[in-house]
């Protein structure tokens, strides 16, 4: 089998379309994972025992089941219960919630690492609990977490091909489409690998920059 550059040129626009969806799903999924992850972490620290317990259970449950099963559930089972999600929405929710459970562990560790004296100083300054979180705890806790969070987001990026299982036309499913209709897999699949690699290679130095930018100055 010979490598066919002409074929590559022909399929590139479609692959790039797919890549756009892949990146979009990753971006939205990351935002959801960060926000929901923080929410999980805060709820798990709730003073109300039942709230903390139930959140803990939900988090363990989501983390303990495969992402693919969750995606199927969101896309194929929820409509039967009356909630119809578009493929991309279901995909973003699935990715986001799944990775939120990992992110929540990162948040939890970061929050626990904030010295007790910071809580006490905030109280002595008479800040409300909300002000304490907003102005004292989170601004200290989040920057050191950014590298760990970003690693999860890169991992999420590499799991987006799973979305093709729920008919999201992302990079992998575009590639499979052109491959199937042309009976040629070499170029499409190689290009998928190359594109993923390129993005990952860009992401790594970008993460290092982030890491440096947010390194705490104690």
């Amino acid at each position: 089998m010979e490598w066919d550059w002409e074929f590559v040129r022909e399929i590139m626009p479609m692959l790039l379309d797919g890549l756009r969806i892949t990146l979009l799903a990753t971006l939205l999924g990351s935002i959801l994972a960060a926000v929901a992850g923080l929410g999980f972490a805060l709820l798990r620290r709730s003073k109300s025992r039942p709230v903390a317990r139930i959140t803990g259970f939900v988090v363990e449950f989501i983390r303990g089941t495969p992402l693919l099963v969750q995606l199927y559930f969101l896309f194929y089972v929820l409509p039967e219960l009356g909630l119809l999600l578009s493929p991309l929405t279901a995909g973003v929710v699935g990715l986001g919630l799944h990775y939120a459970t990992y992110a929540s562990e990162v948040f939890r560790a970061g929050i626990d690492n904030t010295p007790r004296g910071q809580w006490e100083a905030a109280k002595a300054c008479n800040l409300t609990p909300y002000q304490t979180w907003r102005h004292v705890i989170l601004p200290q806790a989040i920057p050191p977490m950014i590298p760990a969070l970003a690693n999860y987001f890169v991992a999420m990026f590499k799991e987006t091909p799973l979305l093709s299982a729920i008919t999201v036309i992302e990079l992998m499913s575009e590639a499979r489409g052109v491959a199937n209709s042309n009976y040629r897999y070499l170029e499409p699949m190689t290009m998928v690998g190359v594109l993923f690699l390129c993005i990952s290679l860009i992401a790594v130095p970008a993460l290092h920059l982030l890491e440096r930018r947010f390194r705490p100055t104690r």
């Binding site: 109280k123 002595a124 300054c125 409300t128 609990p129 002000q131 920057p143 104690r218």
Partner: protein
């Protein structure tokens, strides 16, 4: 004592089965400078932390300006305080910690302006003007834009004092504010305290192991042991002529360790 700004009445505090404060009673007059001394573990820090509402108590009553700290009146009877009540009570009290506890992600100026802006709605420009006055007072106006990590321990502690003053509390609590400092930095902090002691009418409670400072600074000294006040009196009496043998033994040890009193 009805004109007391702080009135502590039969307060008991436990950690698990360990009783740290036992039926403690004392009161403090407005403007009084009080030194709390005593061996390690005698409960001095716990009292200050309790006044700052960082700890709760098992029984007894603490009144600030006659108003119960941990209880509030509702329909004519006293019920446990809610967060709003505690918040209101805390406006009267400030605290400086042994380990400074500055906000490390904020510059010196922002450390001082944060609480007035958030809790009193002071406008940024006003908060900053006031903060600069306070930083000037503690001798750190030139460090306003430094980060806490760039300061020495003594400088950090002076910022922490300015931060507490910015809220204009009527009561200030100082918990061994010099004991984490290198010896050569102790004096700069004590000087600030002296200046505060002589120029303000704030009520000040000071836990310290610096006996000579307590001697000069305090109007009254309380000697604690095992969660109780063993002896109290004006520094001239308590330091030079203690009546209780545990006070005598404690002071003897301090002198043997090389401190002047």
């Amino acid at each position: 004592m009805t004109d007391a700004i702080i009135d502590i009445d039969r307060v008991t505090k436990r950690y698990g089965s360990h009783t740290v404060l036992q039926d403690l009673c004392f009161s403090v007059r407005p403007g009084e400078k009080l030194a709390l001394i005593g061996p390690s573990g005698s409960g001095k820090t716990t009292i200050l932390r309790t006044l700052m509402t960082l700890e709760t108590i098992e029984s007894g009553t603490i009144r600030i300006d006659g108003e119960p700290l941990f209880q509030m009146e509702r329909n004519g009877s006293l019920v446990p305080a809610d967060e709003a009540h505690l918040h209101r009570m805390r406006t009267r009290i400030g605290m400086v910690f042994q380990l400074f506890n500055l906000f490390p992600h904020k510059c010196v100026l922002d450390n001082v302006t944060l609480a007035p802006m958030l809790t009193k709605g002071v406008r940024k420009a006003d908060a900053e003007r006031r903060a600069m006055e306070l930083l000037d007072l503690v001798g750190l106006a030139d460090k306003a834009h430094a980060m806490p990590a760039q300061l020495s321990g003594g400088q950090k502690q002076r910022v922490a004092i300015a931060r507490a003053l910015a809220l204009q509390p009527r009561i200030m609590l100082f918990d061994e504010v010099t004991s984490a400092l290198d010896p050569e930095l102790v004096e700069e902090v004590l000087n600030v305290m002296r200046m505060l002691g002589s120029t303000t009418d704030m009520t000040m409670l000071l836990v310290t192991h610096e006996m000579s400072f307590a001697h000069d600074f305090a109007d009254r000294v309380l000697f604690f042991d095992r969660g109780r006040i063993v002896e109290e009196g004006p520094p001239d009496v308590l330091f030079t002529n203690p009546t209780h043998e545990r006070t005598q033994a404690f002071l003897k040890k301090i002198i043997a360790a090389g401190q002047r009193i």
